[in-house]
């Protein structure tokens, strides 16, 4: 499959963040077109395009918009989820830092479609300071040209955007955690229902969309739903950004029609495995996705195919591990992440993620006990599905899949009190690990 440049069409242009360059390339035409349509018509086009949310869950975007009740007692809000914190994911950052106006245009159209309050927020993770500066500047340009503010392009639609910076919490990428954070609270997810489409931020109906999802919207309005569906396969449509990192020669963001073959992506487009080593495992959708072994990767990267194969496309953050990586150490590192990022609200996740980390650490140090592999599965069973949000389920994804697929490596650690001979030490075990 050939690489395409649709979402990334502007990013290589000189001065790509300026509004003049964006307008020269046909920018803001979609907003002009959409504001002449009825909001329901805009939603219908997005529904017809079968666009699915690019943040992780793959929920149909048009359907999400249509859940917003008409005539709700409180104003409706649009939030952009730019809290890209899933390990292995770095696609939204490229869009925001290189082509901020595409996101802004997508938000204007989406805000119009759902009947948004005049104010909306881009919730960007705090570490992306540069991205927030680029966005602020782009917003100023858009206001000066009349694309934001009161009565946009004479349509009677008022809309403005504020950049809200997060402050370093993975959990704020969860829809209701993000809503709590925008309200100025700790980012602890809420009980659902009520779903955000009914009661979300500041008590009003709320739509939370990922950056890449919103960036697709102007393309759909400009070119039509059928054009969008010409990429990918039915129910898995559109151009898609894939982030490849880890042990590959050419890591980076790659754009393909939805459903590029995973094996082809790694070996042909990313130049194969670093140092000509052997492939050991691939995580297809960010840290929370169960991992694949090398004989499982000949499959298209779309929501349904990956789910059928027992994992998830998630945010399309593909992490490639070669045979020098100790699986126990890799899974320990991911478990440490989840233990650190658990918000502390639900006991199974708060306590369980810490226990997973400790048991993996003792196996890695050669202090593992005979029953530890099964203990990990048992603990995972007591975390999964027992917390308010998906963080607990995310934390057990790599643990369960690695114990099932690499059990012999776990047993080797426990029997021989050492890693497999071909693996390399990527961290010193004597270094104190920061508490969380």
């Amino acid at each position: 499959m050939e690489q395409i440049k649709i979402l990334t069409a502007n990013i290589d242009k000189p001065n790509s963040t300026s509004i003049d360059v964006y307008i020269d390339g046909g920018g803001y035409k979609a907003a002009e077109k959409a504001l002449k349509m009825k909001p329901e018509e805009v939603t219908q086009v997005v529904k017809d395009s079968e666009l699915r949310g690019r943040g992780g869950a793959g929920f149909p975007t048009g359907a999400k918009w249509s859940f917003v009740p008409k005539n709700a007692p409180k104003p409706t809000w649009l939030l952009c989820n730019a809290d890209e914190s899933e390990p292995g994911t770095f696609k939204d950052r490229v869009l925001m830092e290189k082509d901020p106006h595409l996101l802004i245009e997508g938000m204007i159209i989406s805000g119009y479609a759902i009947g948004s309050n005049p104010m909306s927020y881009i919730y960007i993770r705090g570490e992306f300071h540069y991205g927030s500066v680029v966005l602020e500047k782009a917003l100023d340009e858009a206001r000066a040209k009349g694309y934001l503010g009161k009565n946009i392009l004479g349509s009677g639609f008022d809309f403005d955007i504020t950049v809200a910076r997060g402050a370093g919490a993975y959990i704020c990428g969860e829809e209701t955690g993000l809503i709590e954070s925008v309200e100025g609270h700790r980012g602890q997810p809420r009980v659902k229902p009520p779903f955000p489409a009914v009661i979300g931020v500041f008590g009003g109906p709320t739509v939370v969309n990922n950056v890449e999802t919103l960036a697709c919207v102007p393309l759909i309005i400009n070119n039509g739903a059928d054009w969008f569906k010409s990429f990918g396969t039915p129910k898995n449509t559109g151009p898609k950004l894939y982030c490849v990192s880890g042990s590959v020669r050419k890591p980076g963001v790659y754009e393909f029609p939805m459903g590029v073959n995973l094996k082809e992506l790694i070996y042909e487009h990313c130049g194969g495995i670093l140092g000509d080593r052997k492939l050991k495992a691939v995580i297809p959708g960010g840290a929370s996705a169960p991992m694949f072994t090398p004989d499982e990767i000949d499959l298209p990267l779309n929501f349904d195919a990956i789910q059928k194969a027992g994992s998830m496309l998630g945010s399309a953050g593909i992490i490639v591990l070669d045979d020098s990586v100790c699986i126990v150490d890799a899974v320990w590192r991911l478990s440490k992440f989840f233990a650190h990022e658990s918000c502390g609200q639900c006991t199974p996740c708060r306590e369980g993620t810490n226990w997973l980390e400790s048991v993996l650490d003792r196996i890695e140090r050669g202090e593992g006990r005979k029953q530890d592999a099964d203990l990990l599965l048992d603990m995972s069973d007591n975390i999964g599905g027992k917390s308010l949000c998906a963080l607990g389920d995310a934390a057990i994804g790599p643990v369960i899949s690695s114990v099932k697929k690499f059990r012999s490596e776990y047993l080797h650690h426990i029997e021989h009190k050492s890693c497999l001979p071909e693996t390399v030490r990527y961290r010193r075990l004597d270094r104190a690990v920061a508490a969380h």
């Binding site: 292995g88 504020t162 910076r165 100025g184 982030c243 890591p251 840290a287 990586v325």
Partner: protein
């Protein structure tokens, strides 16, 4: 704020000292007033206001917690609850250069721990601590969203991508 557990190692620092009461300088005050216009209620202004506090003083002191509480009509406990939840709010002063090394999986397999170990050894600091001259603080952080250009080290607000031990030495030379 007096009922902190006596074993809490940070407890003595957490009592606000009335002699050190703080107030935004005029420039920051202007930005705070702008923040107030962008949100529908005062509580929602808490995160951006705390960012402003950190930009102004480098960290969020107990006095600043009290001050923000009075600005936004929130109790110090509410403000401190938010400060301590989010990673980026420094609850202690940090060095002039805050060296944040991402060691998550994608960076780890590109040898990020070598950089981290090198920084700790060379600057002779424990993780999370600041050098005696107050110049550098070294911490290990979670994924910075720059996995394609791993390993990455964030110095204050800036990302330094595709790092290795040689490059970090060169960078340290520039950061004085």
């Amino acid at each position: 704020m007096a009922d902190l557990h006596p074993d809490n190692p940070y407890a003595p620092d957490r009592f606000p000292d009335p002699k050190k009461a703080v107030e935004f300088p005029p420039e920051a005050k202007k930005r705070f007033d702008y923040i107030l216009t962008r949100y529908p209620n005062k509580e929602a202004c808490l995160l951006p206001t705390l960012h402003l506090v950190q930009e102004t003083w480098g960290w969020i002191s107990p006095e600043a917690v009290l001050y923000v509480g009075t600005l936004l009509n929130l109790s110090p406990a509410t403000v401190f609850g938010v400060v301590s939840f989010y990673n980026m709010y420094n609850q202690k002063p940090v060095g002039k250069y805050h060296l944040q090394v991402c060691t998550n999986l994608s960076c780890m397999v590109r040898r990020a721990y070598d950089i981290y170990d090198h920084l700790c050894d060379k600057l002779d600091v424990h993780p999370g601590a600041t050098t005696k001259d107050g110049l550098y603080t070294v911490v290990e952080v979670e994924c910075l969203g720059s996995c394609g250009t791993a390993p990455v080290v964030q110095v204050n607000n800036d990302y330094h991508e595709n790092m290795d031990v040689t490059k970090i030495d060169a960078l340290l030379g520039e950061l004085k």
